[in-house]
Amino acid sequence: MTIDVGRRDAGGPEDGLAVPAATELAGESRIEGRSPWQLAWERLRRDRVAVVSLVVIVLILLLALGAPLVAAAVGHGPDEQFRDIGLTPQGLPKAPSRTFLLGTDDLGRDLLVRIVYGSRISLLVGVVSTLLAVAVGVLVGVVAGYLGGLVDTVLARLIDLVLSVPFLLAGIAIVSISGPSLTVTVVVIAFFAWSSIARIVRGQVLSIREREYVEAARSLGASDWRIMVVDVLPNVLAPVIVYTTLLIPSSIVAESTLSFLGLGVPPPTPTWGGMLDSSLGYYRFAWWYLLFPGLALLVTTLAFNLFGDGVRDAFDPRTDRLFAAESTTAPVDE
């Protein structure tokens, strides 16, 4: 995927003057310079699907932040076991009721509170591991693409190597040595995610390197580091942002998968994957135990994917969107 709109001049506001062709075509009397960032933002705002998904994401975020408030409101802690009132006489989970709005799990814990707390882990791991991966991926991609030569050969091989390792198998091997924990989960996910970003960034930098403004900077005596940070980096930001938003949901899926296999964040910390894992033994008696954490996970990944798709479209309206509800290449100007 190429992203031209953002790449052209992601730098300063003065570059925005290069773009307002659309404004002129629209026959507007007031001609105003807009940077590609502004254009992208306008497009995103107009994309109904993306806005709704963003609202959902913000709601999930608020729930995660306000988890203790939810726990206080219903009066049940996330790890508190109500073996007397939270379990049936047979010791099975209890169905949703006024006391337990979404029912209880196999240990008599309040499912609602655990699901709300579980969102913290999902978002935390999803965002932190993505940021870590993006930082490493951008660094490696820019350095490899810009410096070229032996450095590039070695780094490109490394990228290919990481890409060819099956994530889950290698993740399993790493966890087997370190033992499962929150930090390990984040590191494992980031370790396998940086390579695809690095590959994209490297490809972009290879062409940016040959541009006139880079040559100009070089002839003015700018150092390699300065050129990489000041001239190259801003011009790869658009694809990086697009991939970052799409990487978050896949990191969330990765976290829940590891937790489902018992290799992610260890219990009693509530995680959606972990809850689904234990629900496997109880779905015959307790549909809520399977369906509610599953729904939470699905809504979250769906919202992030839809939003990421909107961001991609906002930065590059020409690419075919993965999931456009309507062709949203609407004119930017009213």
Partner: protein, 319 residues
């Protein structure tokens, strides 16, 4: 062609070798305490030393590595720590199950993904296109294990409750025992793995197909009076498939991950479940064997895909 193959095979071997180094490096960073586990809580230091000696864990790591590589080259991956079964026979036991899931799922996902993509591309923005898009979006966001659980809940449990017993709860029947049983036990795992990936392929095929259908040679073909069906399927699809095949090569690793999870959901003792169990027991020889096998599978798949290009697209030169 032969030179190309030789180079790719050499590169592949390099990757596999690097993986063995990385694996051993990891065990160096965090040595196994399997002797402690085997010996139990009462074990004296002497017992532990004895166990370590028997397992060959008392030797320096580089010696362990060399003997591992030497044995591996002779087709011997060592013995598992607990039951003293050769790792190769553990793998031989588990592999048919995993391959059954993977191949069946890959066939379904490619058929579903490509045909839906073509349907979408032939009439872009139509009702069919929209419908398939929603379908793709939904499954694209669905974690594999969640889909497996939901299928299990609705198609096994709910159907069984009303007396329809088509789908079993899990398990595996060997192909040589009963073909019907094999299909019956694998159909839900296949759908689980396939649907999630088919979604992405629908979109990929659609994009690629739309692009190809806009090319001059398609117009030429149409103006010659060839039927639209033939234009789309013979002239269009062939070159539209190139990026799809590329993506498939990349996705073999993803396929493996999906299969691991699916095996856990449907209690099938394939490679994935073997690996998960080996992890919890710190059974290093098994872990190494399985990860190595996975890497080899990915490397081989990528070589096959590169050769596949040349077959699909005569413009590609292998050099």
């Amino acid at each position: 062609m032969i030179r190309f193959l030789a180079r790719r095979v050499l590169q592949g071997l390099l990757v596999v070798w690097l993986i063995t180094l990385v694996l051993f490096g990891m065990f160096f960073v965090a040595p196994s305490n399997v002797a402690q586990t085997l010996g139990g809580r009462q074990a004296t230091p002497t017992t532990i030393a004895l166990i370590n000696q028997r397992l060959g864990l008392d030797r320096p790591l580089w010696q362990q590595y060399l003997s591992f590589v030497g044995n591996a080259l002779h087709g011997d991956l060592g013995y598992d720590y607990y039951k003293q079964i050769p790792v190769t026979s553990i793998i031989a036991d588990a592999l048919p199950k995993t391959v059954s899931i993977a191949v069946g799922a890959a066939v379904i996902w490619m058929l579903l993904g490509v045909s839906n993509g073509v349907l979408s591309a032939v009439r872009p923005r139509s009702f069919t296109d929209r419908g398939l898009t929603v379908f793709a979006l939904f499954f694209y966001s669905m974690p594999t294990f969640l889909l497996g659980l939901l299928l299990l809940y609705y198609l096994y449990f709910q159907l069984t409750l009303v007396g329809i017993r088509i789908f079993p709860a899990g398990g595996y029947v060997d192909l040589s025992t009963s073909f019907g049983g094999w299909v019956q036990h694998l159909i839900l795992p296949w759908i689980t793995v396939a649907l999630v990936s088919a979604a992405a392929y629908t979109r990929l095929t659609r994009t690629s197909m739309l692009e190809v259908l806009g090319e001059d040679y398609i117009r030429t073909a149409r103006s010659k009076g060839i039927s639209e069906r033939r234009v789309v399927l013979r002239h269009g699809l062939r070159s539209a498939l190139t990026p799809v095949v590329t993506q498939f090569g990349i996705d073999v690793a993803t396929l493996l991950s999906g299969v691991i999870v699916t095996e856990t959901v449907f209690s099938i003792d394939g490679i994935g479940r073997t690996a998960v169990v080996a992890i919890t027991q710190q059974d290093q020889p098994v872990i190494i064997g399985v990860v190595l096998l996975g890497t080899v599978a990915v490397v081989v798949a990528n070589i096959v895909v590169d050769v596949g290009y040349a077959v699909l697209d005569p413009r590609v030169r292998l050099n």
